[in-house]
């Protein structure tokens, strides 16, 4: 069973009286362990697609299934739980919680999960921060970290709960190329080690080189997809 399954998915935004068609009849699926890049010009619908897959927004038409669960039939609480258990996010603008330290930003995500003892959570959080190379910076607030360090915290936050799926919307766009490459290497490494499914969007040639599958979007439609099995 594919981890993500889109069947004839469309997304429209209402802007005043007019309607913007951001995604048109997309059918696409992702298998476990894939490391895929969604590429395309600005406005082509990359973020829209990732938001839908991440259950952060509602599809207008079609069916989207995550782990076989039909998303449009779920209520908001169930979707929150589904994100909590299965999906990690890395955002272009990092989106860390400013009042929480690096450690707390990571540990917070585990506290959302049920049935995890506190000391186990703390242990996991420390370990993952070490893995992303932030040992010694655990108690810094996001405002006291560089962009690259913040994005590492964000990746640690996405990874710590060991989700089946990590979605990253232009994860390197706000980083210099060196830091960007480090981050990609880190994600790739985790993909290899833990078989975590990664889907990310990018404009960056370097980032695309890491991907094992590249999906091209233009005007809300898929123009090419190497290696993806179109359904």
């Amino acid at each position: 069973m594919p981890i993500v399954e889109c069947n004839n998915v469309s997304k429209e935004y209402k802007v005043g009286a007019s309607v913007v068609s951001a995604l048109k009849d997309i059918s696409l699926s992702f298998e476990k362990g894939e490391f895929s890049a969604i590429v395309g010009p600005s406005g082509s619908g990359k973020s829209t697609l990732l938001n839908l897959i991440g259950c952060l927004d509602k599809v207008t038409e079609g069916n989207l299934k995550i782990n076989g669960i039909l998303i449009k039939e779920q209520n908001k609480t169930l979707l929150a739980d589904l994100r909590c258990e299965n999906i990690g996010f890395v955002f272009q603008t990092f989106n860390l919680i400013p009042v929480l330290s690096a450690f707390e930003n990571v540990n917070f995500v585990l506290s959302l999960k049920k049935n995890l003892p506190e000391n186990e959570c703390a242990e996991k959080s420390m370990k993952i921060l070490e893995e992303v190379g932030l040992k010694g910076l655990e108690n810094r607030k996001p405002s006291e970290l560089s962009g690259g360090q913040q994005q590492r915290v964000a990746i640690a936050r996405a990874l710590v709960k060991e989700p089946a799926l990590i979605l990253a919307d232009e994860p390197t766009a706000n980083l210099d190329s060196k830091t960007g490459e480090d981050i990609m290497a880190l994600m790739k490494d985790l993909n290899m080690k833990k078989q975590t499914t990664f889907i990310f969007s990018t404009h960056d040639k370097m980032v695309m080189d890491y991907a094992t599958r590249i999906i091209n979007l233009r005007d809300g439609m898929i123009t090419s997809d190497n290696g993806g099995k179109k359904s």
Binding site: L56, D57, K76, C84, N95, P98, V99, F108, V109, L112
Partner: protein, 424 residues
Amino acid sequence: MKSGYIYRMAFRNISRNKKRTALSAFAIAMAVMIVCFMKSYTTGLFNNVKNNVFSFETAHVKVINKDYLKEEKLMPLDLNIYGYENNYNEVIDLLKKIEGIKYVLPRTKFGAILNLNGKMKNLVGFALDQKLEYPVNPLKDKIIAGRMFNEYSPGVQEIVIGEILAREIGVKSGDKITLMTKTAEDGLGHMTFKISGISSYGISEFDKTYFYIPLSAAAKFLKMENEVIELAVYLDNMHRSIPVSKKINEQFYTQQANPYIAYPWEYQKDGQYYKMFVTLTKTYDIIFIGIIFLACLVIINTTMMVIYERMKEIGTIAALGMRGTAIIKLFFYESVIISAMGSFTGTVIGGAISLYLSITGINIAKLTGGGMNLQFSEIVYPRFGLDILLYSFIFGVLISSVCVFIPATKAAKIEPAEAMRGIL
């Protein structure tokens, strides 16, 4: 989820924008302070008026001589209650048979002149049976210096006078004063009394012009051995005074002579003041709600601003899997902490003002320029009480916390993708 992080985040968010926290807390503190003080003040005023009106002026039902009403202002002692054959106790016995009546207190209100080194002062005297009065009107407890008067016996002629009066004429307990009056037999009476105690009702009309003697002394002084001016009737339920009065009057009709009438408080002038006052007090509650509502507007407004400010964050925590209810909780806790701080400050300040003024009193005659021609006391003592403090505190916390639900619920409903774009 475990609530630890919600508390932690709520708590840290408070110090994030100190100005807004201060503004919200200040708005609540002000509102709660005003409510706390006003509630103390109106309760004090209300109790005062109630006491004033019911203890001496109207009773629940007043039984008097029918003709007394026509000349009430002159306090005519000859238009009295003399019973049917022997004395006023016959009327008391009659009243006691009627259901709903709790106390019947014989009283005589009379005018007297104090002669103080040639200077005359008009006073109002109350002749009372202190033992019977005690449950309704505990004069004994109002004595601030000296003690209660003793019953009359030759050589023992004791009086209790009001605090302000004592100060004005420069006497203290133990001193002697001579009073003159027109007796029930239309003669001139005078008697020298020893001041056994000084009373303070906190009601300037009482404390300035009233004095109190036992009925046994009045019997001699006013030549009213078997008569009193009124029987003050107190009921189990003061709101049944009209039907009970009707029953009393029916009883009076069955007697051979019918010189008396029962007069419920509602029909008396002072009773109507009281009723007006009750309505007035109710309007205060509306004002309280209005004040708190204004504070709420500040809170709703600042919360809306904060939510707008943190939209991206709300979207992020929702994306990370925090449920809508937890997001509402986050803002709710934050608001509870701020409003608790504000309410606490407001309660402390309001309570301190009330406590201070409950001791010193507020001279409303001074505040209003003395133009208020009501039967109310001029000095109002706000009632300081834990119940009022608690009421104000809870009122503040509850209402302002509830206010936060409106914007917070709205925030929790937004799709995370939209929220992260920062659009409300």
